[in-house]
Structures are given as structure tokens and as C-alpha cells.
């Protein structure tokens, strides 16, 4: 009937749309990488020119002339393998890379924070009849179902971008807490209370003023799961602390809001040294 025909056309149209989107994604990536390859080629040529110059200077001293041997087939193959590996490495370093599979695509989201490469997570998607997650290695406390319900069917690019933001922010918060425990354990009193998402941190730390130490309690709430900085900071001191410490507490609160945890403590240490 007519409806069946219409349905078929609709299905065809949506399949074509998904395909087009995929090709657009690919083309975009390709364009970016081509630009990068050009950049790298320019660099390489410059360096080669430098090397040649050096070599010529050397040879000039010795007075000998060497003829450039033709690169062997094996050398060409090795160079090709090397450049393919470099290309794949570049793909991986962009943070979101994918590989077409029998049933769809397998994406790899690699996370990093402040130059440190952290964990990689995988998503195996099938694209027919509709986009579905077959399997994944995303931790259970990341709200994957919620993000998928919102974006997976309609805008896969946005889905990956939002998921990547969540994962990167999570590893960033976790990294800060771990750095704090590793490098500033002498200033922390007791244990650091945190949770799986690392979006609530509570701990006590020591502040010294006029050669006496006072404990501060800080409660960091990370309201935005895509952000690695807290949305709410409460720094409090004990009731019997001197009034001047209230100013320090407010100042510290500001620092925690703007700067990564371990960097904040680094600055406190520096400030204390300059005061003492």
C-alpha cells in the first residue's frame, strides 16, 4: 500500500542521512589530518635541509663528494609502515578515534589531563537498523544511558563529544585527588572522603599562621560533571581560630574554585614560604 511505500522511503532516507553524516565526519577528519600532514611535511623538509647543510659542511671540510644512493624498495616499505603508524598514532591522540567493524563502528575515547595521558574507553556500536550500543567499557557511574537517550539516535557527534567531556572531567578530578594524596599528604589530616565519580571531596588540612597550625575543613562539590573544577566550595575553620584566618579561608575558597586542587596546594605552600 501507499503507507508501506512511504515507510520504505522514510527508512531509506534516514539510512542515507546516517551514511551521509558518517561520510561527513570522515571527510572532516581527513581534511584536518591532511592539513596536519602538510605541516609535518614542511617541518620535515626544513629539518632535512638543515641536515643536508650540516652534512655538506662536514663533507666540504673533508673535500669528498658522496653520491646519494637510490632508496631501496625495503627502505621505502619501512618508511611507509612508519608513516602509517604515525598516522594511526595521530588518530589516537585526537582523543576520539574509530574503526569500522562488521556491524558498525568501534570508538575509542582516550582521556588526558594537563598533559598526562590517562585511561582509554571503548564503545562498540552497531549502525543498522538503528544506532545501538552493543558493548562498552565505560565505568558504571558515568551516566551513559542518560547521554545515549538524549543524543545517540539524533546526533552521534554530539553524543561522543558529551561522553568524552564526562570521561575527561572524571579522570581530571580523579587525577587531582590522587596528586593531592601523593604530594601533599603531610598537609592533609586524616583521610580524603570522596566517591566513585570524584564529584564530592571532603577533607581537613593544616594552615599555619604565626607559627601555629590550625585545621581547615573543606568541602568541594563538582556540580557540573563535565567540569574538573568545583562549582561549590565551603572552607571552614574551627570556632576557636583567630579572626584573621577567616580572610585566609575566603582566599583559599577562591583559589579552589579557580585552580586545580594540587596546584592550589602548591600555591599555598609557596605563599607560606614567602610569608615565613
Amino acid at each position: 500500500g501507499v503507507f508501506a511505500h512511504l515507510e520504505m522511503l522514510e527508512a531509506r532516507a534516514s539510512a542515507a542521512a546516517v551514511k551521509q553524516e558518517e561520510t561527513e565526519l570522515q571527510e572532516e577528519k581527513l581534511a584536518r589530518l591532511k592539513a596536519r600532514v602538510q605541516e609535518l611535511r614542511l617541518q620535515r623538509d626544513e629539518l632535512r635541509a638543515k641536515v643536508d647543510l650540516q652534512q655538506n659542511r662536514q663533507l666540504g671540510k673533508e673535500g669528498a663528494v658522496s653520491d646519494l644512493a637510490q632508496p631501496s624498495a625495503r627502505a621505502v616499505l619501512e618508511w611507509k609502515i612508519k608513516s602509517v603508524k604515525a598516522m594511526l598514532q595521530i588518530f589516537y591522540l585526537t582523543g576520539i578515534s574509530g574503526k569500522l567493524t562488521k556491524r558498525g563502528v568501534c570508538f575509542c575515547i582516550s582521556t588526558a589531563y594537563e598533559g598526562a595521558y590517562l585511561d582509554s574507553y571503548h564503545l562498540d556500536l552497531c549502525t543498522k537498523p538503528e544506532v545501538q550500543i552493543l558493548r562498552h567499557s565505560i565505568p558504571t557511574f558515568i551516566p551513559l544511558e542518560r547521554i545515549a537517550k538524549k543524543y545517540l539516535q539524533t546526533d552521534i557527534r554530539r553524543f561522543l563529544s558529551v561522553l568524552s567531556d564526562h570521561l575527561n572531567a572524571y579522570v581530571g578530578r580523579r587525577y587531582q585527588a590522587e596528586q593531592l594524596q601523593e604530594h601533599f599528604s603531610d598537609q592533609i589530616e586524616g583521610t580524603l572522603q570522596r566517591n566513585s565519580l570524584c564529584n564530592l571531596l571532603v577533607f581537613n588540612y593544616n594552615v599555619s599562621s604565626k607559627s601555629k597550625t590550625f585545621p581547615f575543613n573543606v568541602r568541594l562539590l563538582y556540580g557540573d560533571l563535565c567540569c574538573s573544577l568545583p562549582t561549590e566550595v565551603i572552607v571552614s575553620s574551627t570556632p576557636n581560630a583567630p579572626a584573621s584566618l577567616a580572610e585566609t579561608a575566603a582566599a583559599h575558597s577562591e583559589v579552589f574554585r579557580r585552580v586545580a586542587l594540587h596546584k592550589a596546594f602548591h600555591s599555598f605552600r609557596g605563599a607560606e614560604r614567602s610569608v615565613a
Binding site: 567499557s137 558504571t140 564530592l200
Partner: protein
């Protein structure tokens, strides 16, 4: 110090292997270093436990402190208990900030409001795991410290690992307390059970090695480069062996498998026979239970095809276990024109 507490501590120490007693007492932290120095850990366990009880007497230990020692023991030897996995559900979309103090307060309040005689202890570990030990009593008797339930919960995940004691009647109350304290709405038992708590965690938290196809260059394994062990031995079916290896690797991944002891399949399918041999007058499902057991079930399934005992690829009913996060299945006939069976959710 109470007689019962002393006896409980004595029996707990006796469970610990002799070489581990000192480290566990240090972890416990209830006895000071100087006190621990006075114990001779080379003597018989019975004498060690007597010495420990003596020192606890000096420090007037109560049941709460003794319970902490029990938690430490169970945390280091979780495989002595059978763990079941439960899944919680909630419909709300608001993000919860999991607050540990809040959780503990709500949990204790709900349990205590229903049952006065109950001992509850919490202990948190570095991997965000919260261990809860519950000793159950009745309105008329004190809590039985030898029949305890253990709960392990990782914050902001929907999974709870419960090792219930023999007293199954307290399970609904325990589930209700967990749901309320963690601000979820519903809880159900998953069909996933094992002695190995860490393997259960690996399965539901997806920490086991799944083989994802990526371009990220992994070090290629050397193939056929190793010299033959003996030139006189000829591998007849090398191609087939390689095919089995690659199919196996695709299905099971490269890393170690989570450790499960059982897989149970309850069949409720119709008995299929020729009509001439109508064994059953009534068309009833033929009830049958198939149980696979092994000290390490998934590793043994992985080695079936390479050992030549089964065809590769293995039946998806066996290989879907970590993916579906269950090892107890019900198989029924599909009620449509396609004959076959399907696995119930």
C-alpha cells in the same frame, strides 16, 4: 569485657592463617604496637588467640571493635563467602552527590527502626568500596554475631554485592535499607553469583578484558617466527588450529577471565520427538537443569576449543555470560513460527 565478645574474638583469630595474624591485628589497630610485641606469633594458634583475648580484655574491647576485625578478615578473604549481585534502579535524572555520612545515617536509621537488636559496622576502602557488616537479632534476642550478612557497595553505581547469611528472612529489610540510603527506588536480584567478589565486580563494572577492535597499534604477537621444536613433528591441521585460536581470542579477549564457579541453565522447552514416539500425552515443557561447574568456569570454556573438546565458536549461551552479567539462565521456547529457544531476560 563480655564473655561472648571474648569468645567471638578468640574464634575470629583462630580463622586467620597463622602467618597473617600479626598483619591483620596491625590493620585492626585496636591493640598497640607494644602490646603486639608481647605476643609470640610462633606458638600454636590456640595459644595466640588466648593471648590476643587477654590483651583485648585489658583494653576492654566491645562488640563493635570485635566486628571491625571480622570485616578486615572478610575483606582479605572474601572468597570464603558466596556473593550475589543486586541491581538498583531509579527513574529520576537529577545527579546525586553521594555523601557517605548521609548514606550511613539513613541506612542505620531504617534498619534500627525496624529491628532494635542489630549490630551495624561500616568500613570504607580506597577503591570507593563501602563494606557493611550486619549481625541480626530478633526483638527478643541479641544479635547473632556468627550469622552475619555482608554488603559491598560502590558509591554512585547501581550495583550492590550481598553475601546474605542463612537468615534469608532479613533480606527484604536489608534491600529496603540500601535503596533508601542510596536514594534509589527499586532493587532486584541479578542472576549472577560467585565466590569471587572481585570477579563479580569485574563483570558488572566491565573491568574484564573485552576485545575491542581498534587501530591503536598494539604490539603484534610474533607468529610462526619461533623455531620449530622438532623438525620431525609435523602439524597436520595448523590452519584449523590458528582459526580456533583467532575465534577464541575474538570471543574471550586476551586477558584473564573473571572467576565463576557455576553456570546453570534451566530448560523449559518442549520435548521434540517424532510423532510416532509420543512419550508425553500432554504437551508439557520437559523440565531439565543443566549445570556446569568448575573451579574457574570461563577459563575452562576458553580452553575447550583449543583442546579439541568442542567446536569453535562455542555456543553463545556459554560465551554471553560476562556480557550479559549472569550465570543462571532460563531457556524457554519462542512462541512464534520460528522454532528455537530464547533466553529470558
Amino acid at each position: 569485657m563480655d564473655e561472648t565478645v571474648a569468645e567471638y574474638i578468640r574464634r575470629t583469630v583462630l580463622k586467620i592463617p597463622r602467618d597473617e595474624i600479626k598483619t591483620m591485628l596491625q590493620k585492626w589497630g585496636f591493640l598497640s604496637e607494644t602490646q603486639l610485641q608481647t605476643i609470640n606469633f610462633q606458638q600454636m594458634k590456640e595459644s595466640i588467640s588466648q593471648d590476643v583475648v587477654q590483651l583485648c580484655e585489658e583494653n576492654s574491647a566491645d562488640i563493635k571493635q570485635a566486628a571491625v576485625l571480622d570485616i578486615i578478615y572478610n575483606h582479605i578473604y572474601p572468597n570464603k563467602r558466596v556473593w550475589s549481585v543486586y541491581q538498583m534502579k531509579k527513574t529520576g535524572e537529577e545527579m546525586e552527590f553521594f555523601d557517605l555520612t548521609d548514606f550511613k545515617k539513613k541506612f542505620k536509621r531504617l534498619l534500627r527502626s525496624a529491628l532494635k537488636n542489630v549490630t551495624i559496622n561500616f568500613r570504607e576502602y580506597e577503591d570507593n568500596a563501602i563494606w557493611i557488616r550486619i549481625a541480626w537479632g530478633t526483638p527478643y534476642t541479641k544479635p547473632n554475631q556468627y550469622k552475619t550478612s555482608y554488603v559491598v557497595y560502590h558509591s554512585q553505581t547501581p550495583y550492590v554485592f550481598i553475601s546474605a547469611s542463612v537468615l534469608k528472612s532479613n533480606l527484604p529489610l536489608l534491600c529496603q535499607a540500601l535503596v533508601v540510603a542510596s536514594t534509589y527506588q527499586d532493587i532486584r536480584e541479578m542472576e549472577l553469583r560467585s565466590h569471587s567478589l572481585n570477579s563479580l565486580k569485574d563483570i558488572v563494572f566491565k573491568r574484564y578484558s573485552q576485545n575491542f577492535q581498534t587501530y591503536y597499534p598494539r604490539p603484534l604477537q610474533e607468529r610462526n617466527v619461533a623455531p620449530e621444536s622438532d623438525v620431525r613433528i609435523i602439524q597436520e591441521s595448523r590452519n584449523e588450529k590458528e582459526r580456533i585460536q583467532s575465534v577464541n581470542r575474538e570471543v574471550f579477549g586476551d586477558g584473564p577471565q573473571p572467576q565463576l564457579e557455576f553456570a546453570q541453565y534451566k530448560l523449559e522447552t518442549m520435548f521434540k520427538s517424532d510423532h510416532k514416539m509420543d512419550i508425553l500425552d500432554k504437551k508439557e515443557p520437559f523440565r531439565c537443569l543443566v549445570k556446569f561447574s568448575s573451579p574457574h568456569l570461563l577459563e575452562s570454556l576458553k580452553s575447550l576449543a583449543p583442546a579439541g573438546m568442542a567446536d569453535a565458536p562455542l555456543s553463545p549461551l556459554l560465551t554471553c555470560i560476562p556480557q550479559k552479567a549472569r550465570n543462571y539462565f532460563k531457556i524457554r521456547d519462542k512462541k512464534s513460527f520460528f522454532p528455537g529457544s530464547f533466553v529470558s531476560p
